[in-house]
Amino acid sequence: MAKTPRLRPGFRFQWEPVQNAHVLLYPEGMVRLNDSASAILAEVDGQRNIEQIVARLEQKFPEAGPLAVDVCDFLQDALQQHWVILT
């Protein structure tokens, strides 16, 4: 929880109006993200640690309840896909 995720170099997260979705762009590839993945990645700025990210999301989406498990699951997956790195 004290670790800080950041996007792997060469990966870019951005809003695509035509697709009406956030996407992750990387060398010759693109993934369209669902709402929860987008909400989490939007908080990944290479400064905030996981704990801070969880706190911010819980504040943003109070109706969602505790989010630590969801965020960790997603980051675990993103790590495995090598989309993000932890420092």
Partner: protein, 378 residues
């Protein structure tokens, strides 16, 4: 869901800008048209900028700068900056010849996201023989390092054929030493010069099997060591019984603009007997949605048998139109890679030929202006 128009056509998410056919190398598997030297016109900087703007407005997010060798265009930094400004993820696809440390840095500062360097082999002798250039290999190594140092993701591409397919392990270990993030081991696709040279390039079934084993073993090792290097092995469809879903469907995601402004649904479609529109006389939007060229093979109404009544047509769209044309003379036909195609024997014959091929590198037709002139249409 992706937004689509009334006809079910979605936006072109990928734009490939083939900036020029000029290239200092002579790869015998080059995907450029055989008669490339006949087409000397190139779009101006302003025209390219307009193409980029229109494409982005329509939804293109991935942009490739390729060629020929895109580095010979003096306005490349300008185009890169425009691409970044518009919000593209931009990829430079280069042989590395003509690249310098200063350019690598300048492109990064202009906003380029990624540089892909293509190699011809894992050792200088073979690399330089295939590329038709004596200093290519050293230059490529130096540039691969410069790209890494500049903080780009490193993507290395090797075109695989019968003369380098035995080098899989060497190639992968070279990539590992260089610190590559992605490695594409792409077996030749037989269009353009590669089709002309197919007999001299196509690996045998036995060579392919060995190579696949080597790649899989290496992949396992990388997985065990937790390496983030990703190996992508594109196997040749001549050894499949079902065709690839070419370009994910004609005019569904990809839009290529050739050096002279001809807009194509894929970079080899120029060889088809179809008239394609040009960006200098038509807007990209009307090209993509309305032109007969782009609508020609959309949907499945155009399909003859066996595709017409096949329950897999939604999966592979009948395969590749260019391959159908090159191998059967009619681009409407099922891709002969499919074992339901009445022309599948052409693929089987090519496999048999690959078992007995003896041609050396010196027997290949190299991609250069002199050889290109032999293919001019009068």
């Amino acid at each position: 869901m992706m937004p689509v128009n009334d006809q079910g056509v979605g936006p072109p998410l990928w734009l490939l800008a083939e900036l020029t056919y000029r290239c200092p190398l002579q790869c015998p598997y080059c995907s450029n048209p055989l008669d490339f030297a006949q087409s000397k016109d190139e779009l101006t900087t302003d025209q390219w900028v307009s193409v980029l703007r229109q494409g982005r407005e329509m939804g293109a997010a991935q942009l490739g700068f390729s060629g020929g060798e895109p580095l010979v265009r003096q306005d490349l930094p300008e185009l890169i900056a425009e691409a970044r400004h518009l919000g593209y993820y931009s990829n430079l696809i280069t042989s590395g010849i003509g690249l310098t440390d200063a350019k690598v840095d300048a492109f990064r500062d202009a906003g380029l996201d990624h540089i892909q360097v293509s190699f011809q082999a894992s050792d200088p002798e073979l690399n330089n023989a295939v590329a038709g250039s004596r200093k290519a290999f050293e230059q490529k190594l130096a540039m691969a390092r410069a790209i890494k140092d500049a903080g780009y993701p490193m993507v290395l591409n090797f075109v695989i054929h019968r003369h380098n397919i035995h080098q899989m392990s060497d190639i992968i270990s070279l990539c590992e030493r260089l610190g590559a993030d992605f490695v594409e081991l792409a077996t030749c696709q037989y269009y353009g010069w590669a089709f002309k040279n197919r007999e001299g390039l196509m690996p045998s079934a036995q060579q392919l099997e060995l190579a696949e084993r080597e790649v899989n073993d290496y992949r396992r090792q990388l997985g065990d060591s937790g390496s983030a290097m990703k190996l992508i092995f594109v196997t040749p469809d001549y050894y499949e019984e079902r065709p690839k879903a070419c370009m994910n469907g004609w005019g569904s995601l990809f839009l290529t603009v050739a050096p002279d402004g001809t807009a194509l649904p894929c970079h080899s479609a120029r060889l088809l007997p179809i008239e394609f529109p040009n960006v200098s006389t038509q807007s990209l939007r009307s090209i993509w949605y309305d032109s007969p060229g782009f609508n020609h093979y959309r949907g499945d109404q155009w399909m003859p048998e066996p595709c017409r009544s096949c329950d897999e047509k939604g999966k592979d769209f009948g395969g590749c139109r260019c391959q159908a044309y090159l191998l059967t003379g009619n681009a409407d036909n099922a891709d002969p890679v499919c074992d339901k195609s009445p022309h599948h024997d052409r693929i089987l014959a090519a496999r048999r030929a690959a078992d007995h091929a003896t041609a050396g590198l010196e027997d290949l037709t190299y991609r250069n202006a002199n050889n290109s002139r032999l293919f001019f249409r009068s």
